[in-house]
Symmetry: C2
């Protein structure tokens, strides 16, 4: 699940420049643009405190017919008041104007530090250079320019055979910390040359997000800026997807978003491991989800995973405090496929010893079977180590 | 608020021995005992997964008339099934028998590793030595024998003038990690020579716990073993407390428990600072509590506090994701008394600079005023630094 080297989607061009927000001269302004009209969908953070681009984006009438996105990193334009909102409007107007696009046909995103006024002048001045940087190989450069504390860029591709030909999906994302429960500091954009009707695109996209980005947990915080969007421009030349073709497209979209989501959780700030916590046998899916999220956000579990300790006691204690109905005497628990607890009791130290080498790996599963019903849920989470402290205790300084 | 050196409460004796559970030969078996009948009250963890002593304790008919407590450290007797429960019964019977007490007149507690069978033979064999160790100066030795990952013992005392004389309250506690929201891995016992009617004692004790132990957050986990209890033996020789005397006693009890609670949060595993997050102007106290707890458990906030960064953006983002009704444009936020945000916007960098030296201190406050209503709440929380990772990634090994 390493990022693909290049992203190319027919009818889309990308570009990136350094406009002067990041101090280290890394690219900090990105664009991806369709050369023709699209159907689109956008999802924003559920945080009550939202950045200016989110407030602006929620009011966009063109959310289902956007042509692409312009995004800066290094500054979140959050908690910046009316001036921040005015800056988004200026960027939108200037970019659409300079690119010869209809008004409000670009999504505007920002990521980075909260509460510092956005130096929109730097962005506005850089738009001509940004336009000049556009190329059909430029999507991965755009993917790099949106990064902040990420250790590596996230990109993924899928090709889907459909009646009459093939459609392509390409995605870029950024995100490392502040992930969960409803898309952390995360930007993710998907571009496809498929022709998809607006309502079909919306359904496929929201279903795929629910099974990917909403199932990853790094630190349980939720950012003011999270945005994920999809753009479908029909450049493949085929008719709008239907029936099995549409279902195959939706499945490929889900796989692509899961690729990106797992790259994000693996890049959880300072993370060394990714664990899939799966709860089965709960009274309901909702109860299973509450338990899975309690485990995934438990500091004691996350530090035990970092320390490669099969500490199932902390896992079952986290399930116990999640508030769901459970009976420890019916619960079973496995680490990396090795059952270590049965009927709420330790089996023997041998089982833990068998599990020990398996949980030193980069990825494994913890399974809890509650034995009460048919409810199930899983999430992916990262461990908590010294790297997280190092990055987050000094992020702004 | 350093622990008092010695605890002495008329009519109570304490003792401690090493029975062989802890490998480092530190004392691991404690007892505190009244020389006469008491009124008492006990509160247990709300975790669904509870240790054997909690399961046993919940069924005790004598919970309002206990004489004292016997507690071991180094093993939680949790997830140990029927054998664990049988072990508690044996310890209870043997201790009461050897000490010449009525059946089930001692509370039994355990704290330490989960899921390892309790070596109850070591405890049973040590009871004669434990009895021999009893003395009126022994309560602080008992306080040391219940410690696990604690950096220091927690003890506090209060004397209250009442009509006809003075009553004494003495308390011992243990706890460092896994604290919140409903008493973490915490044991806390209060002994008093006051005469208090059972219903009055219960009311005063539960009120004091709600305003102390339930307001501290270390890592948001909740243990399987938390227990707090009070024992009042009337050895002062005065009649049962009433009216203003009872109110003064209740207030002293609250202060004593808050002393112990703050010692615990300051000893949060690896903690360097204690912060009081206070939310005012919420629609309701319940909303204010949800917001305060979201801030107190946010890893991004806790690491910023560790890094002495006045990162109010993370604080307001945590309030925003707590699910409560809020309008960032009406919110104000102060660090250590320095207002850094007004109407959802940064004031200026000067304000942060003024706050900077104040938030390097061991204790300070963060205040968020929402400007919507009269709801308010506060909790105390510790920061998250490398010490927490070091302790918890290697606790069992």
């Amino acid at each position: 699940m390493h990022p693909v080297r290049e992203i190319a989607v027919p009818g889309f061009r990308g570009g990136a420049v350094w406009c002067g927000i990041k101090k280290n001269r890394k690219t900090d302004l990105a664009i991806v643009l369709s050369d023709r009209p699209c159907t689109s969908d956008v999802l924003f953070t559920r945080n009550r405190v939202v950045a200016a681009p989110i407030e602006w984006g929620r009011g966009l009438r063109s959310r289902s017919a956007l042509r692409g996105v312009i995004a800066n990193s290094g500054n979140a334009n959050a908690c910046t008041g009316r001036k921040g909102l005015a800056a988004v409007r200026k960027i939108s107007a200037e970019a659409c104007g300079k690119l010869g696009l209809p008004d409000e046909s670009l999504l505007v995103s920002s990521t980075g530090v909260i509460g510092v006024p956005l130096p929109e002048g730097k962005i506005l001045a850089a738009i001509p250079r940004l336009r000049a940087s556009l190329s059909s190989e430029g999507i991965q450069r755009a993917g790099k320019a949106i990064l902040t504390t990420d250790a590596y860029p996230k990109r993924a591709m899928r090709k889907v055979r459909v009646r009459g030909g093939t459609v392509t999906l390409g995605g870029i994302a950024k995100g490392a910390g502040m992930i969960a429960p409803s898309m952390g500091t995360m930007l993710a954009y998907v571009f496809t040359d498929a022709a998809v009707r607006s309502s079909d695109l919306r359904k496929a996209f929201r279903g795929a997000v629910a099974r990917s980005f909403h199932r990853i947990v790094v630190d349980g915080d939720m950012s003011t800026n999270d945005t994920t969007a999809i753009f479908a421009n029909g450049a493949c030349g085929l008719p709008s997807l239907e029936g099995k073709d549409l279902a195959d497209f939706a499945e490929a979209l889900h796989e692509l978003l899961l690729d990106l989501a797992l790259m994000i959780v693996r890049d959880g700030e300072g993370a060394t491991r990714v664990v899939r916590i799966s709860i089965t046998g709960a009274r309901s899916d909702r109860a299973a989800e509450a338990a899975a999220r309690a485990v995934a956000t438990s500091l004691l579990v996350k530090t035990a995973v970092f320390g490669a300790d099969p500490n199932w006691g902390r896992v079952i204690a986290a399930v116990g405090r999640s508030g769901i109905d459970m009976d420890p005497a019916r619960a079973e628990l496995s680490f990396a496929g090795e059952k270590v607890m049965r009927r709420g009791m330790v089996i023997d130290r041998q089982a833990e010893r068998r599990a020990a080498p398996k949980i030193r790996k980069e990825a494994y599963g913890i399974d809890v079977a509650l034995g009460l019903g048919k409810g199930s849920y899983f999430v992916y989470f990262s461990d908590l180590g010294h790297g997280y402290i190092r990055i987050n205790a000094g992020y702004r300084t």
